[in-house]
């Protein structure tokens, strides 16, 4: 079985099959680039992911392994709608996979899925974050996302007044 070494930003190496790694658009490109530039066809590719730490990379690879037999989603599928992919692709395993994660981990996972071009994972994680936004007050959203208001002057009040034009009955 052809293998590839994927190394996280903090130096952890993960040895995975190339078949599995190629489920990620980014890793697929890297492997193909390595193959073209390498004289030795048997050489094992080594890919450094400088933006993803070990824990997150491990989760991505874990998700890929679980979904290794799923059809690969085209990068632009439903991009205008944005709905559908997550609902269609989310299994009980996905729900169990995401359930124990705090929002910080999920946000890191989104960044990683985006960087590694894993559309299915990106969809379900984005959907999860969206569900944490819907129905919440502004303060609750700020707390959940560890954000603070950085509006200057009366901009926040002005924005609130603008919103009233659309939601006031």
């Amino acid at each position: 079985m052809a293998l590839v070494r994927v190394i996280s930003s903090d130096g952890a190496a993960f040895l995975v099959s190339q078949r599995l790694a190629k489920r990620s658009g980014k890793l697929k490109t890297e492997i193909e680039t390595f193959r073209k530039s390498s004289d030795n066809s048997e050489a094992q590719p080594e890919i450094r992911i400088v933006t993803i730490r070990a824990e997150i990379l491990r989760l991505v690879l874990q998700w890929l392994q679980q979904h290794q037999n799923d059809p690969v989603l085209p990068a632009n599928q439903n991009e205008q709608d944005g709905r559908g992919d997550a609902e269609m692709g989310q299994s009980q395993w996905d729900r169990d996979f995401l359930a124990p994660m705090d929002l910080g981990i999920v946000m890191e996972l989104i960044l990683a899925a985006n960087h590694l071009e894993v559309k299915g994972l990106l969809d379900i994680t984005c959907k999860l974050v969206e569900s944490k936004i819907t129905g919440r007050t502004v303060d609750e959203i700020r707390t959940a996302f560890k954000l603070k208001s950085d509006f200057k002057g009366n901009e926040e009040e002005q924005t609130r007044l603008e919103n009233r034009w659309c939601v006031e009955n």
């Binding site: 930003s9 903090d10 824990e55 124990p100 705090d102 890191e108 960044l111 502004v138 959203i141 996302f145």
Partner: protein, 449 residues
């Protein structure tokens, strides 16, 4: 702790150090990507995400894209209040979503559906400020508190629809329609409020729908002059009234960003002004019913220098068909829709359409046409042109019985000689969206009936 346990613990700690050490290379390779136990994984879950983490706007957009811009508008508006970054992301999303109503050229089934809808209906339905203006200019309802003391930009979604008289729907929508209603509009104070809103905040708009309106020239110019950021404009059954019959509109030199124009049944003088003012910059033009081509404004490349997309719906005017027949050098159009509804159209035949598109056969990428498959063959043979870059063809049929006999072979035989690179053929059965069914050609391996 016995020796075996101590060794196990030491090994585990070494592994952890390797994982979290930035300076030190790992001493060994993890044999598997999976954790040896769930408890080990849980211990590793120490979130490093914080508000200092730079979260790319495109990912914030990906998250907010899961929210629907109409159904979840209250949530999106709340997100505007979270922080300045989120505000920017939401505003960009809303602008993109509303503009997409005009620029939808995607070729999958859902999007093709909306292409065949009358744009007038879709744009008005989805455009906002319904609570303030929807009920019409004669009886505009503004929330009393805001009407008394309006504050802030009323167009946070950068989109507005001003929709007028319901009773104009049954009129002829011409200069002759509702002749005595102009004064009623002008005499109503709320109308002035709307004009004032546009004067103060029209600069925030990127999309605007004016529908079913009779409006005096001066006020019309005030409204348009304030919309300096406008990118897409739908004008539907708009009548501009003048103090004198042949008076000219003072063209506001402001619509420099406008490149999408959707036009339905407006008055002649208005068209003369509009097309003269904006035709050189229009990229996407949709026409329905009355044609906006009068006098010297024809669909020649020297007039519509940037036009790429032309959608003609129900061209019921002889002048339009005649103009299209006479065009010598049209722009290099890439997307053409030629659809007429259930009304039998003797002005513009399939042959006319084929002759017209043959004038820019090399630039054409997608074609949507209201035609029976069997009626295509003779016009194509007569025109003798091949369309080498067409990748998408859609055909609309008004009567389900025309579907009989359409199969993979007949579609392939009819289409491929003229469109050698076609990738997808969609056949839309019926003109009403509710009655649409698809047969997708197996050229893209998705044949359904």
């Amino acid at each position: 702790m016995d020796k075996q346990d101590r060794n196990k613990f030491t090994n585990w700690m070494r592994r952890l150090r390797n994982i979290f050490s930035k300076s030190k290379k790992p001493q060994h390779i993890l044999p598997s990507i999976l954790p040896s136990s769930e408890s080990e994984l849980s211990e590793l879950r120490i979130s490093s995400y914080s508000q200092e983490t730079i979260f790319p706007p495109e990912l914030m957009e990906a998250i907010l894209d899961k929210l629907h811009y109409v159904e979840d508008l209250p949530t999106l508006l709340r997100c505007r209040l979270v922080c300045s970054h989120w505000k920017q992301v939401v505003e960009k999303k809303l602008e993109t979503e509303y503009l997409f109503r005009w620029t939808n050229l995607n070729q999958d089934e859902d999007h093709s559906l909306s292409i065949f809808q009358e744009t007038r209906i879709s744009t008005c339905f989805y455009s906002v400020i319904p609570e303030t203006v929807y009920s019409g200019l004669t009886h505009i309802w503004l929330p009393p508190a805001i009407a008394a003391n309006p504050k802030g930009n009323p167009f946070p979604n950068k989109s507005a629809a001003v929709i007028g008289f319901e009773n104009c729907h049954s009129g002829t929508h011409s200069d002759r329609a509702c002749p005595n209603l102009e004064h009623r509009i002008e005499s109503k104070a709320p109308y002035e409020e709307v004009v004032k809103l546009f004067q103060n905040y029209g600069k925030y708009l990127t999309t605007l729908v004016l529908h079913d309106l009779i409006i005096f020239q001066d006020n019309f110019c005030l409204v348009l002059a304030s919309t300096e950021s406008l990118k897409a404009l739908t004008l539907s059954w708009v009548k501009v009234s003048y103090s004198k019959e042949e008076a000219k509109i003072n063209v506001p030199k402001c619509l420099t960003h406008l490149h999408i124009l959707s036009s339905h049944d407006n008055t002649e003088t208005f068209y003369k002004w509009l097309m003269t003012a904006v035709s050189p910059q229009i990229v996407n033009l949709k026409i329905q019913g009355r044609a906006p081509f009068y006098g010297k404004v024809t669909l020649e490349q020297e007039i519509f220098k940037k036009l790429k997309c032309l959608h003609v719906y129900s061209p019921m005017e002889w002048d339009l068909a005649e103009m299209l027949r006479k065009v010598e050098s049209p722009p290099a159009l890439q997307h053409v829709t030629a659809v007429w509804g259930w009304i039998s159209n003797d002005y513009w035949t399939v042959e006319d359409v084929i002759k017209f598109i043959a004038k820019f056969c090399t630039s054409l990428v997608s074609l949507k046409i209201h035609v029976k498959l069997c009626d295509l063959i003779t016009p194509f043979e007569n025109c003798g042109k091949i369309f080498p870059n067409v990748k998408f063809v859609a055909m609309v049929i008004a009567n389900p019985e025309y579907r009989a006999g359409w199969d993979e072979v007949s579609i392939r035989e009819s289409i491929l000689p003229w469109f050698p690179k076609v990738e997808s053929v969609i056949i839309v059965n019926g003109f009403n969206v509710s009655g649409v069914g698809f047969i997708q050609c197996p050229l893209c391996n998705r044949y359904e009936q």
